[in-house]
């Protein structure tokens, strides 16, 4: 993995929830326009790392970060940096679809509006483009005024992706984006991830190892707050270097 292509890098990152050290000495680079999967058992720190990459953990009391998280070379934990600005450029999609109880249109237009896009023509174009990118446009173009809550779970999740895309981020963080979805919706999201990586860098946390193997270019295996192995996905799933990785991906747990 060439360093020059890394859009985000972490350097010796430690992370604490109070006294509990949830991440230990994480040094990784995330390649631009690639999909990186983070896998590992519950409590291994993969979601913590994901949330750390756009300062989402700031919202939790008693947390502390040590080390550096560089986004395009600049430390996002620098006191002069506005976390809201970081989250605008590094978007996030959560495990459960969480649309606002508003219309489909307003869900997607919300972020841009708050950020000063107010001309109807601009908003219309942005909403259409975002929904197209999220592969949802054809299903909702005639019902944009309907409540987002009337959509199916899979559609809601794609709406959340469209909402994130409307902010024109560089990076999209996905925290188990399909764990609440049926196989058809899951396949659509996976297909979408493949499409999106042309324009975005994607980092995805997943408990589904086959999903990691299918959608990602690189995979990091986490255990007890450490990166055990970080490699090209095809190598990690066929010939892992570490026995711990092998035990996990072949189903030898505990």
């Amino acid at each position: 993995m060439k360093e020059s292509n890394h859009i985000i890098t972490t350097e010796n990152v430690n992370f604490y929830y109070g006294d509990f050290k949830a991440l230990q000495d994480i040094t990784m680079g995330f390649e631009k326009n690639r999909v990186t999967a983070l896998i590992g058992p519950s409590g291994c720190g993969k979601s913590t790392l994901l949330r750390l990459l756009n300062r989402m953990n700031d919202l939790i009391d008693g947390t502390r970060v040590e080390g550096k998280v560089l986004f395009e070379g600049a430390d996002i934990y620098d006191p002069r940096v506005d976390p809201v600005d970081i989250r605008r450029r590094i978007g996030m999609v959560f495990q459960k679809p969480n649309p606002f109880p508003k219309s489909i249109f307003k869900n997607v237009a919300y972020g841009p509006r708050v950020n000063g896009v107010c001309r109807k023509r601009d908003l219309d174009a942005l909403v259409e483009k975002s929904l197209l990118q999220a592969s949802l446009w054809n299903e909702v173009k005639d019902i944009l005024d309907r409540s987002a809550m009337t959509l199916s779970g899979g559609q809601q999740q794609r709406l959340c992706i469209a909402r994130a895309l409307a902010m024109k981020p560089d990076v999209l963080l996905m925290d188990e984006p399909t764990s609440a979805l049926d196989p058809v919706s899951t396949a659509k999201i996976e297909e979408l991830i493949e499409e999106l990586k042309k324009d975005y860098t994607i980092i995805i946390v997943t408990h589904n190892m086959q999903q990691a193997a299918r959608v990602s270019d690189c995979t990091g295996f986490f255990y007890l707050g450490r990166v055990i192995e970080y490699n090209r996905t095809d190598l990690l799933f066929t010939t892992p270097e570490k026995k711990q990785t092998e035990d996990y991906i072949t189903g030898r747990f505990g």
Binding site: M209, Q210, A213, L235, F237, T238, T239, P240, E241, K243, T245, E246, D247, I249, T250, G251, R252, F253, G254
Partner: protein, 237 residues
């Protein structure tokens, strides 16, 4: 390296069953080779016939193993070592089945030879057969013990069998030239020798599949020497 067991005991058992079935198939075909060659050496046509009849059991086991492997691929989505084991098992299974067919060929030629007076004393053929059988045993041992050195040895022994086959061919050619009435018998013996040579090729392929299973390194189209020096997968990264 001590392997941890799968959390799913069912899965663990299914993998072990495939391994055991492969071992059993190996025993069957190795015995078939022994019997087919014995039927030639001892002019025992009855033994040849039982080798031909025994091939049905080999075919049935071959089908069973393949089905089990495909089923595991479908329901377990194996990864890493397990994935390499199952893909290797599918190949090894096919090679063992072909070896069984070779034993049948040998048995048929032996039965035909038994109808005529013996052309010459057999010295190299039993040596070839012993080496080939040893190669099958060793390659399957390598599979069970995950012993890469044993697998590499099998590849070297293939050369011994190849040169014995050539030697037999040249010798029988002189028989034919000196007395064309020996042609039929000489050709039958050449075919037996050729079958043994192909058995050792299959055993070599099994050994290569074992090397792949252990290291993830594909050595199917490399010469023996390259593998003996042993590029580890890390070198390729």
């Amino acid at each position: 390296m001590e392997q941890k067991l799968h959390t799913s005991r069912q899965y663990e058992n299914e993998l072990r069953e495939i391994k055991e079935n492969l071992m059993y198939l190996g025993v069957l075909v190795e015995k078939a080779i022994g019997e087919s060659v014995r039927s030639l050496l001892e002019r025992d046509t009855e033994a040849a016939r039982s080798v031909v009849d025994g091939d049905e059991a080999v075919d049935r086991l071959d089908e069973e193993i393949e089905e089990k492997c495909i089923r595991l691929l479908a329901i377990r989505q194996p990864a890493a070592r397990d994935l390499r084991f199952i893909t290797a098992a599918i190949k090894i299974n096919a090679h063992l089945e072909r070896i069984g067919d070779m034993a049948v060929t040998i048995a048929r030629k032996a039965a035909a030879l038994n109808e005529e007076p013996q052309l010459k004393p057999y010295i190299d053929l039993p040596r070839m057969a012993e080496t080939a059988r040893g190669m099958i045993r060793k390659s399957l041992d390598a599979l069970i013990r995950e012993d890469i050195d044993a697998a590499r040895e099998v590849r070297r022994e293939d050369e011994v069998v190849d040169s014995l086959n050539e030697q037999i061919f040249r010798e029988l050619l002189t028989f034919i030239i000196e007395d064309p009435r020996t042609t039929h018998r000489a050709l039958l013996i050449i075919q037996i020798s050729k079958s043994l040579e192909r058995i050792s090729d299959h055993a070599t392929s099994i050994a290569k599949a074992v090397i792949y299973m252990i290291t993830g390194e594909n050595v199917r189209h490399t010469k023996t020497d390259e593998t003996v020096t042993g590029a580890t997968p890390e070198d390729n990264r």
